[in-house]
């Protein structure tokens, strides 16, 4: 077994510097690396580029980094629900690269899997394809998209073991698996860190080879963005 455990979030983020590019897992506020984001705020690193499907809300998730003006550039597919984001984008303070969601996921996965680039039909004929190579395969047009390059990936899992193996819960899985091993260093925070041998290898979603540092996260808020329920009498 190759041990990946570190003492906590501070050790997990050692080496983080201004100007770096980070991948951050999560969809909306679901499955986001809450502890790593809090530590990035505490460290006050500046001019960072964040690859993340969304940009959080005003006072949670990546919104916390936006409040402190730590983000230079955001690479996302959808950035609604965040007024501070809109202000910084419209004023030109924040650079934004909007990318189709499936392309964003695949650019992470390509980095993980060693593909420099891939063809996708998404965005052909739109401004997303401007300046990019296009090519026809079997009568359909595709756009060449390149794999991301990042310094750190910050992911969040439900359970993990000392070897860095990860298991996710529900739709909190989202972008986290594709980001593992897609940056130079992958930091995984988990709700429950267990000894090696405690997870059934059949149930592991991400093998520990893709994770360099793992720690037990603290005080997960797991905020719900759109609480939608039905009443028992409606059933």
């Amino acid at each position: 077994m190759i041990r990946k455990t570190v003492s906590g979030v501070q050790e997990a983020l050692s080496g983080v510097q201004d100007g770096m590019t980070f991948m951050l897992g999560g969809f909306g506020l679901c499955g986001i690396p809450e502890n790593a984001i809090a530590e990035l705020v505490r460290l006050g690193v500046k001019d960072i580029t964040c690859i993340s499907n969304n940009a959080g809300v005003d006072d949670f998730g990546l919104g916390l980094l936006l409040q402190k003006h730590q983000i230079k550039k955001m690479i996302s597919s959808y950035v609604g629900e965040n007024d501070e984001f809109e202000r910084q984008m419209l004023s030109g303070a924040l650079e934004v690269e909007l990318t189709p969601q499936g392309t964003l996921a695949e650019k992470c996965r390509a980095a993980q899997a060693g593909f420099p680039a891939f063809y996708t039909p998404a965005g052909y004929g739109t401004e997303v394809a401007e300046g990019k190579e296009t090519r026809e395969f079997n009568g359909k047009m595709y756009v060449l998209e390149q794999a991301y390059e990042a310094d750190f990936s910050f992911v969040k899992a439900w359970k993990g073991d000392e070897a860095g193996n990860l298991i996710f819960k529900g739709t909190a899985r989202n972008f986290n698996p594709a980001m593992c091993g897609a940056a130079r260093i992958t930091v995984a925070e988990v709700e429950e860190l267990v000894p090696a041998g405690s997870l059934d290898p059949n149930h592991v979603h991400v093998p520990g080879i893709f994770v360099q540092r793992i720690f037990q996260g603290k005080a997960y808020e797991k905020r719900i963005e759109q609480r939608t329920v039905r009443k028992k009498e409606d059933a």
Binding site: C30, G31, L98, T120, G125, T126, N176, E225, Q226
Partner: protein, 218 residues
């Protein structure tokens, strides 16, 4: 003229036995409420779930189980969770049979615009560009005109495009239309809506056959 639930009800009739279906945010989400219960259908949400069920009961919501609109949901027997790359593999690989989504504009060539109003609103395309570029069967659910009363069925889209030549069918509050080489082919009228009213609300080329039946919603 139909309301949003009426549009959803009409689109639900397009959902066939054995379909995996992706529903966009807004009117498309309502379609799930009207699908016949004697057919087998699974709803996919691109954030990583197949077999989506209704909203949870109060007190049973789980922050880790949401749909692409970030709403808390439940799952049905047979459901599965997966990561985003796998999810878009299902979409790009055309394993999802039907995509239903909203639009700001649709052109008579089947182009769609629904992600950006330059200088005003930039929320991003989310999964829409992947969905429209890959799905074989795309239905647009929208109002026939915008809030200013202007037609959303145009000769050419004025807003930045989400996809090119991809929309096949459109269901609005006024009509069901098919995108053809000749333009928007008028298939059905909403209850109580005349062909003239539809023509007046359509900027793009409208092809009107001799008989245009009224929609049947039940």
């Amino acid at each position: 003229m139909l309301d949003k639930n009426g549009i959803a009800k009409r689109i639900a009739k397009e959902v066939k036995d054995g379909y995996y279906v992706n529903l966009g945010i807004g009117i498309p989400t309502l379609v799930a409420n009207f699908v016949r219960d004697d057919i087998q259908v699974e709803f996919q949400s691109e954030n990583g779930v197949l077999g989506m069920g209704p909203f949870p009961f109060e007190g049973e919501e789980d922050a880790d189980i949401i749909n692409a609109g970030k709403q808390t949901i439940t799952t049905l027997p047979g459901a599965s969770f997966f990561d985003s790359a796998t999810s878009f593999g299902m979409i790009r690989g055309q394993h999802v049979h039907l995509t239903i989504l909203g639009a700001m504009e649709v052109s008579e060539k089947g182009d769609i615009a629904n992600w950006k109003i330059p200088g005003k609103m930039v929320k991003g395309m989310g999964g829409a560009m992947d969905l429209v570029a890959s799905a074989e069967n795309i239905i647009v659910a929208m109002m026939h005109t915008n809030r200013a009363g202007e037609s959303k069925l145009l000769k050419q889209c004025s807003l930045p495009l989400t996809g090119v030549g991809c929309v096949k069918k459109i269901v609005t509050n006024l009509a069901v239309l098919e995108v053809t080489d000749e333009g928007f082919l008028l298939l059905e009228r909403a209850p109580g809506t005349t062909v003239e009213a539809i023509r007046a609300a359509t900027e793009g080329t409208l092809v009107v056959p001799a008989q245009v039946p009224e929609m049947k919603l039940d």
